[in-house]
Subunit: 457 residues, 2 copies
C-alpha cells in the first residue's frame, strides 16, 4: 500500500520537516510594516527554492506589494490549487513574548510538544503541512501527486491589496477545478473540520481632529472640545445594551441560519465555558439572544481594535489633545456588503460629530462573507480522509475569521474552495507566544497525504 | 529716582538676562520621567549658583523626588516669599516641534520677538523675571530688596509628591508674611492680571483588563468582551448633551459665582471667539448655560487626557486587546474635595463594569481650588504697580489651571499668596513649540522691580 508508505515516510522524516518549518519562521515576514519588506521577499524566495527542489516549476511574482509565489506540477486528474500565506502578524507587545518571536523552537508543554514562534500557526506551519505531504509523496512515488498548482501570498495579514488585480491578471493560470485553503483550525482539540462558512471583514481607521495643536487643560479645559471625549462618546454607542451593533442598516442583509445547519451546530456540543475559560473569561459578550457559536460563526460584529489619543506615557500630562484615533473592524456574514457597511459607519460617525471637529479616514477595505457549496464529492472524500487520520468524525463548520481569498476564488476564478486546517484554539495566533502543536503539524501532513490519495490524480 | 535707575538697568542688561534664561532652558528638567532625574538636579544646582551670585544664601535641598531650591536674604520689612518651578512638561509629540525643545533661541515672529523652547513660559521664563529684577535692584542699590525668601520646586509638572511633607518639615523657614507666585498669565495681550481664584485638580489613571491575553477578533470577535468597547462606553457617558459632567454628586460643592465677581468678569470683555479662534476652534464645548469665562475659571470640568488600547501602529491588526487604559483629570472649583471626586469617579466606573473585567488604578492625586483674600494692601499696591508698567488697568481674575501651591501655602504655612505672571494665551505651554514673549520677559522683570519698590523693605 503506497499510502501507508507515504505515511511512514512522513513519520520518519518529521524532524527534518520541523527544521524546514523553523527555517521559514526565522524570516520575519511581517507584511503590514514596510520595515520588513525585504524579509517578505526573502520568505517568498525561500518557498520558491523549496518548491523547485520538489520538482515544481516555481517562481516569485512581483506585485506592487509583496510577491506571490506560484508552483506548478502538471499531471493527471482534476486541477487542484493549494493556497497559504507566508506573511505574519506584527509581534507587539514584544515584552509579552517569552522568547524572540523569530527564533522558533520546539517546546515541551503539559499538553504536548509545540513549535513556538510568530507564524507557527498562522500560516507558515499550516502551509508547510502541504509541502511536506508533497515531499513524502514524491519520495515514495518518485513524482508529485496529480495536477497541482501551489499559490502563496504575502499580504494576507495586511488586507491583500495586490490580490484581486493579481488573480484577474493571472486567471487562466490560477483557475483550477478546486481550491484547497489551509488557514483554519480544528473544531476541537482532536476533531478535524472543514470550514464551509466564513465571516467577511471590513476595516477602517479614523482620526478626529479639533484644535490646531495640543492644549493645556488648565487654560482650555471646559471650553475647548476634546477629541477623546468625542471619540469615546461616539464609539461608546456602537453597541446597545443587548450587545447589538447600533449602526443603521447593519443587520439588513444578515440571513438567519438554516435550521439544518443550526441543528448540526447544536450537535457539536460546543463548550463555550471552556472556550472562554481558556482565555480567562466566563461570559459571552455578544448579542444576548444568540448562542456563543452563532456569535463567532454566523453573526456579524463590530470591534474597536485600537484606540489612541493624548498623553499615554509615564506620569501625567494634563493635555487636551488635538486629535484622537481608532481602528475599527466589522466581521460580516451572509450578504452584508463591506462597502455598504463602511459607508454606513462613516455616515454614522459624521452625523455625530460636534462643531470644530474634522474626520480623516485611512485604509478602508473589506471582503464579504463566503458560504461554500458542499455538493462537490471532494468535500465528502476529504471529510472521510480527515476522519480516518484523526479517528474522529470530521465536521462541516463555520469560522469566525475572515479568509477573503475563498470569496475571491469564487468570484474571480469561478472555483470552489475547501478550507481545511489544523490550528488549535490555544495557538495564540495574532498574539504573543504564538505556537502550532507538533501534533497539528505531524497529523496535518498525514491528513494531506490521505486527502491527496483520494482527490488528486 | 532709584526705581528709574533699576528699570534702566533692566533695559540695558536684557540680552544678558535672555542668555541666562536660555542657559537654564538647555537643561531638560522633565520631572515626570525618571530618565531626566539628573537633569532636574542640574537645574536646581544651576539656580542655587545663580542665587548665591546675587548674594542669597542658597542651597538645593534633597527630597524623595526632585530637590527644592531655597534662597534667603534677610533684610527690613515684611517677609516675602517668591515661588516658581524649574521642572518642565514632557516634549512629545517631538515631531511637532519646529526645533529641538531644549536648544532655545530668540525668534522674530509677526507678533514680536519670542524665546522659543520647552519651559520658556512654564515656568523658567517666569521665575527668571524675578531673579533678574533682584539682580538689577542689587546692581543699583548695592543690596537685595527687603526681606526675601526664594523657593523653587522641581515637581510641579508631576503632581508635587514631595511638596506637602517638605512644607511641613520646613514650615518655620518658609512661613513668610506673603507669597508671590509667578506661574500664571496676562488677562489679555497687554492687560496684566492678578489671579485671585484658581481651579483645583484631581487626576487618575486606570486600566480595564479582560482576557488573559490579546485575542484574534476572527476567533473571538463577538463572544469575548473587548476592553476598548467597555472603556469607550463608560467614558463616553462622562458628559451629558448639555456638556455637564454626569458623575453623581459632582456639582454638590460648587458655589455660584458672587454677583460682584460675575459683573467684574462681564466687564473684562473677554473675546471668546478670539480665544478659541487662536487654536482653530469656534464653539465653546463646556456647559451650554455658562459663559466661556465661567467655563474656564469658575466651573469644574472632566477631561480625558489620554486613552490607549489595542493595536495603534501602522497598518491594521484585528486584535481584541486584553486591556485598555485612560488618564482622566478633573478641574475643581469652590469647595469640591479632590478625594471625594476621585472616589465618586472610581465608584461610577466600577458600577458600570461588565462581567470578566477588572480595574487597575494608578496614581490618584488631587488638590482643591483656592480663592484668595484680597484685603491685604499688597494686592492693591501690586495692581497699581502692574497698571503703571503696562499702562493698562490690571485685573483681578480667575485661572482655569491648578496651582496647588497656593492652597498649600494657605493651609500649611498660613500665608496668603498673590499670583502674578506674564504668560500669554498663545505661549503653547504643555504643547510643542512653547514660547515666552520677549515682551513678557522684559516687562515682567520691570513689573517685579515696581512691585518690590512698593511692597518690599
Amino acid at each position: 500500500m503506497t499510502l501507508e508508505a507515504v505515511l511512514s515516510r512522513i513519520d520518519e522524516t518529521l524532524p527534518d520537516s520541523c527544521e524546514r518549518l523553523m527555517e521559514l519562521m526565522r524570516i520575519p515576514s511581517i507584511s503590514t510594516d514596510p520595515e520588513f519588506d525585504a524579509d517578505c521577499a526573502q520568505a517568498a524566495n525561500w518557498l520558491v527554492q523549496e518548491l523547485k527542489s520538489l520538482g515544481f516549476s516555481a517562481s516569485s511574482r512581483p506585485t506592487p506589494g509583496h510577491p506571490m509565489v506560484i508552483g506548478r506540477h502538471t499531471g493527471p486528474g482534476r486541477h487542484i490549487l493549494f493556497y497559504g500565506h507566508y506573511d505574519v502578524q506584527p509581534v507587539d507587545p514584544l515584552e509579552l513574548w517569552a522568547r524572540d518571536p523569530f527564533d522558533p523552537q520546539i517546546e515541551e508543554t503539559p499538553k504536548g510538544r509545540v513549535i513556538r514562534g510568530r507564524g507557527a500557526g498562522d500560516d507558515k506551519g499550516q502551509l508547510m503541512t502541504f509541502i511536506e505531504a508533497c515531499r513524502a509523496w514524491k519520495d515514495v512515488h518518485g513524482t508529485l501527486p496529480g495536477n497541482l498548482t501551489i499559490f502563496f501570498e504575502g499580504e494576507e495579514e495586511s488586507g491583500s491589496p495586490s490580490l484581486i488585480p493579481f488573480l484577474e491578471e493571472n486567471s487562466e493560470e490560477l483557475s483550477a477545478d478546486l481550491a484547497l485553503i489551509c488557514d483554519t483550525g480544528m473544531f476541537a482539540d482532536e476533531v478535524p473540520a472543514i470550514v464551509t462558512m466564513l465571516r467577511g471583514l471590513a476595516k477602517i481607521e479614523f482620526t478626529i481632529r479639533a484644535a490646531n495643536k495640543d492644549l493645556h487643560s488648565g487654560m482650555f479645559g471646559g471650553v475647548a472640545i476634546n477629541p477623546i471625549r468625542v471619540i469615546t462618546k461616539i464609539l461608546g454607542g456602537l453597541h446597545d445594551d443587548q450587545g447589538r451593533v447600533t449602526l443603521p442598516g447593519f443587520y439588513d442583509d444578515v440571513a438567519e441560519l438554516p435550521e439544518a445547519v443550526a441543528a448540526q451546530w447544536q450537535g457539536l456540543g460546543f463548550d463555550h465555558a471552556a472556550f472562554l475559560g481558556g482565555v480567562g473569561l466566563t461570559t459571552p459578550a455578544g448579542e444576548v439572544d444568540r448562542t456563543p457559536l452563532e456569535q463567532i460563526w454566523s453573526r456579524p460584529t463590530a470591534e474597536i481594535n485600537g484606540i489612541w489619543g493624548g498623553y499615554t506615557g509615564a506620569g501625567f500630562k494634563t493635555v487636551l489633545p488635538a486629535e484622537a484615533s481608532a481602528k475599527v473592524s466589522f466581521r460580516l456574514v451572509s450578504e452584508q456588503d463591506p462597502d455598504k457597511i463602511l459607508a454606513s459607519f462613516k455616515a454614522w460617525i459624521a452625523a455625530q460629530l460636534p462643531p470644530d471637529c474634522e474626520l480623516v479616514w485611512t485604509g478602508p477595505n473589506g471582503s464579504p462573507a463566503a458560504v461554500m457549496e458542499i455538493t462537490d464529492p471532494a468535500f465528502e472524500a476529504t471529510r472521510e480522509a480527515l476522519s480516518e487520520e484523526w479517528e474522529r468524525p470530521a465536521a462541516f463548520v463555520g469560522c469566525g475569521g475572515s479568509i477573503p481569498i475563498a470569496g475571491y476564488f469564487k468570484d474571480i476564478l469561478g472555483m470552489d474552495a475547501m478550507l481545511v486546517g489544523f490550528g488549535k484554539d490555544d495557538d495564540q495566533i495574532h498574539s504573543p507566544n504564538e505556537k502550532y502543536d507538533l501534533q497539528s503539524f505531524h497529523k496535518g501532513i498525514r491528513s494531506w497525504a490521505r486527502v491527496l490519495e483520494r482527490i488528486a490524480g
